[in-house]
C-alpha cells in the first residue's frame, strides 16, 4: 500500500478523544444539537427512574438540578460520549510492516530450494523477478541432486537404486515445500495489506467525522456532509502475488496454492456518508462506517483463512510427497557387511 501511514494505539486514542470533545463542544454551542441532547438527557432520567436501560451507559441522574440544565447536560454528554475513543482504539495493532521480516524469510526459503521467482498480478506477469538471495551456507537442491547422481553412476543394486530414486525425489519434495513457502508469503502479504487498509480506513473515518463536526461548528453552518472512502474491500486485490517461474517449476500436482485459490479479486472501494444537521446523525454515520469497516475486515480475513485451510488440507493429503522418508532399502543396510552389500538388493560397484 503506497503512502501508508501507521497510527498507534495512542494516535487512535487521541483521535477518539478529539472527536468526543468536539461532539460535546458542538452540542453545547449549537442550538439544534443542544435541544436534542436535552431531550435525550430527560429521556434517560425517565428510563433510570422507571428501571429501564439508559442510552448513555452507566447513566446516573444528577443529585441536584434538572437533568437538562447546562451543567448537568454537559456531564451527561461526557457520559454519553465516553465510549467514542474505544471505537477507534479497538482497531489498534502493531505496525504491520514488522511482519515483513517473516516475508523475507519465506521468500528466501523459496529461492533456496528453487532459485527462480516471479511476480504476478491479476493473471498478468510482471517482468521483474523477485530479487532475494538464498539463506547463508545453503546449497541449491537441484544442483546437489545432479552431482550426487553423477557420483552414483557406477553403483548398483536394489539399495543403490532406491537411494538414487530418493535423491531425485528430493527435488520434487522441495518443490512442494517451495510452494508452501510461497503460499505462506502470499497470504502474509494479503494479511499485511488488510491490516494496513484497516488502519487507513479507521483514520479516514475519524478524520472525516471530525471534519463534519467542525463544519457544524461553523459560524453560519446548519448542516454538514462528508464522504469517508473505505479501502478495506480492495485490500486483497492490492497484492501482487509471487509465483515460481513457470519454466523452472517442477510440477506439484494436487497441491493448492494460495495465489490460485484467491484468483483475481476485484478491487472495491466504498464511500460512507457522514453528515447531518446535528451531532447525533454525524456520530451515527461514524458508527455505521465503523460497522462497515469491521464487516469488511472480517470478510477479507475469512477469505484468507479459508484459502489457507484449503492449502493445509491439500498438504495433509500430499504429506508423503512433501516429506520423503530416508529410503528403507538403503537404511536396512545399516551395519551390513560386505557379503550383504553385494547381494542383488544391496549396494555394490560395477
Amino acid at each position: 500500500m503506497a503512502g501508508f501511514a501507521y497510527h498507534s494505539m495512542g494516535d487512535l486514542q487521541r483521535l477518539g478523544e478529539k472527536i468526543r470533545d468536539k461532539a460535546i463542544h458542538v452540542t453545547m454551542t449549537q442550538d439544534d444539537s443542544y435541544g436534542q441532547a436535552q431531550q435525550q438527557a430527560n429521556n434517560d432520567a425517565t428510563r433510570y427512574h422507571t428501571g429501564q436501560q439508559t442510552q448513555a451507559p452507566g447513566y446516573v441522574p444528577p443529585s441536584s438540578g434538572r437533568p437538562d440544565d447546562n451543567g448537568n447536560l454537559e456531564a451527561y454528554l461526557h457520559q454519553a460520549y465516553a465510549g467514542i475513543p474505544r471505537l477507534f482504539t479497538q482497531f489498534a495493532i502493531p505496525n504491520p510492516d514488522g511482519a515483513r521480516l517473516s516475508l523475507d524469510a519465506l521468500y528466501q526459503a523459496a529461492v533456496t530450494v528453487a532459485p527462480s521467482l516471479e511476480i504476478k498480478k491479476d493473471g498478468n506477469e510482471l517482468t521483474t523477478p523477485l530479487q532475494v538471495g538464498d539463506v547463508a551456507g545453503t546449497v541449491p537442491v537441484k544442483q546437489t541432486v545432479d552431482t550426487i547422481v553423477t557420483h552414483m553412476k557406477r553403483w548398483e543394486g536394489g539399495a543403490a537404486d532406491g537411494f538414487e530414486l530418493y535423491v531425485k525425489g528430493l527435488e520434487t519434495s522441495a518443490a512442494y515445500q517451495r510452494e508452501i513457502a510461497l503460499s505462506l508469503a502470499n497470504a502474509l502479504e494479503v494479511q499485511i495489506s488488510i491490516r494496513k487498509a484497516m488502519l487507513t480506513d479507521i483514520w479516514e473515518i475519524g478524520d472525516k467525522t471530525y471534519k463534519a463536526l467542525d463544519d457544524l461548528d461553523g459560524w453560519c453552518s446548519n448542516s454538514a456532509k462528508v464522504q469517508a472512502k473505505l479501502t478495506i474491500l480492495g485490500a486483497i486485490a492490492a497484492v501482487a502475488f509471487v509465483a515460481t517461474d513457470g519454466a523452472a517449476a517442477v510440477a506439484v500436482e494436487g497441491l493448492q496454492s494460495f495465489a490460485a485459490i484467491m484468483g483475481a479479486v476485484p478491487a472495491l472501494t466504498t464511500q460512507e456518508t457522514i453528515g447531518g444537521a446535528t451531532v447525533p446523525p454525524i456520530l451515527e454515520g461514524m458508527a455505521n462506517a465503523i460497522t462497515k469497516l469491521n464487516q469488511g475486515v472480517d470478510s477479507q480475513q475469512q477469505e484468507v483463512a479459508q484459502a489457507l485451510q484449503k492449502v493445509n488440507q491439500s498438504l495433509d493429503r500430499l504429506w508423503g510427497q512433501a516429506l520423503l522418508p530416508a529410503p528403507a532399502n538403503l537404511t536396512k543396510l545399516r551395519g551390513a557387511g560386505r557379503g550383504q552389500l553385494e547381494q542383488p538388493d544391496g549396494f555394490y560397484a560395477t
Binding site: F91, I93, V139, A187
Partner: protein
C-alpha cells in the same frame, strides 16, 4: 564387470563425497531453512496481534498451522537426508574394512581432514547442521 582395485577405491571415494559433503550440505540447507522459518514466530505479533481487542485475529491460526507444517517439512527432510548420509558412510567403511588397498587409498585421499577434488559448485557444509526445531 567388477572394477579394478584403483577404480574401486575411486568409487568408494565418490560414495564418501556423497556421505560427507553432498548429503550433509543438503541436511545443513534444510536445517537452516527449518531454523529460519522457526524464527518467523518472533514477528507474529506484527502480523496478527490485536492490541486494541487483545488476542490474535482469525488468520493467525491457519497461517501458523501451515507455517508449522513447512518448518516440520524442512526439519524432517534434513533429518532423513542425514540418515541417508550416515548409512552411506557405513557402506564405505564396510567395504574399506575388507579391502586393505582401498582403505589405504581412501586414507591417502581423505587423511588429515583433506577432501578430494570436488565438482564445480559442490561445497561442504559450513559446519554441523543446526539443531532442528519441530512444532
Amino acid at each position: 564387470m567388477a572394477p579394478s582395485e584403483w577404480q574401486f577405491a575411486a568409487e568408494l571415494s565418490e560414495l564418501r563425497i556423497i556421505g560427507k559433503v553432498d548429503l550433509p550440505a543438503m541436511a545443513y540447507t534444510f536445517a537452516a531453512l527449518n531454523n529460519s522459518i522457526n524464527a518467523t514466530a518472533a514477528n507474529d505479533n506484527a502480523a496478527f496481534a490485536l492490541e486494541g481487542r487483545g488476542g490474535y485475529d482469525q488468520v493467525c491460526r491457519d497461517w501458523s498451522a501451515l507455517r508449522n507444517s513447512l518448518q516440520n517439512l524442512f526439519g524432517g527432510t534434513s533429518t532423513n537426508v542425514q540418515t541417508a548420509a550416515d548409512v552411506m558412510l557405513q557402506i564405505v567403511d564396510a567395504y574399506a574394512s575388507t579391502d586393505e588397498a582401498a582403505k589405504q587409498s581412501l586414507e591417502s585421499a581423505w587423511g588429515n581432514g583433506k577432501t578430494p577434488a570436488l565438482q564445480q559448485g559442490e561445497t561442504p557444509p559450513p559446519g554441523p547442521a543446526p539443531a532442528i526445531v519441530t512444532k
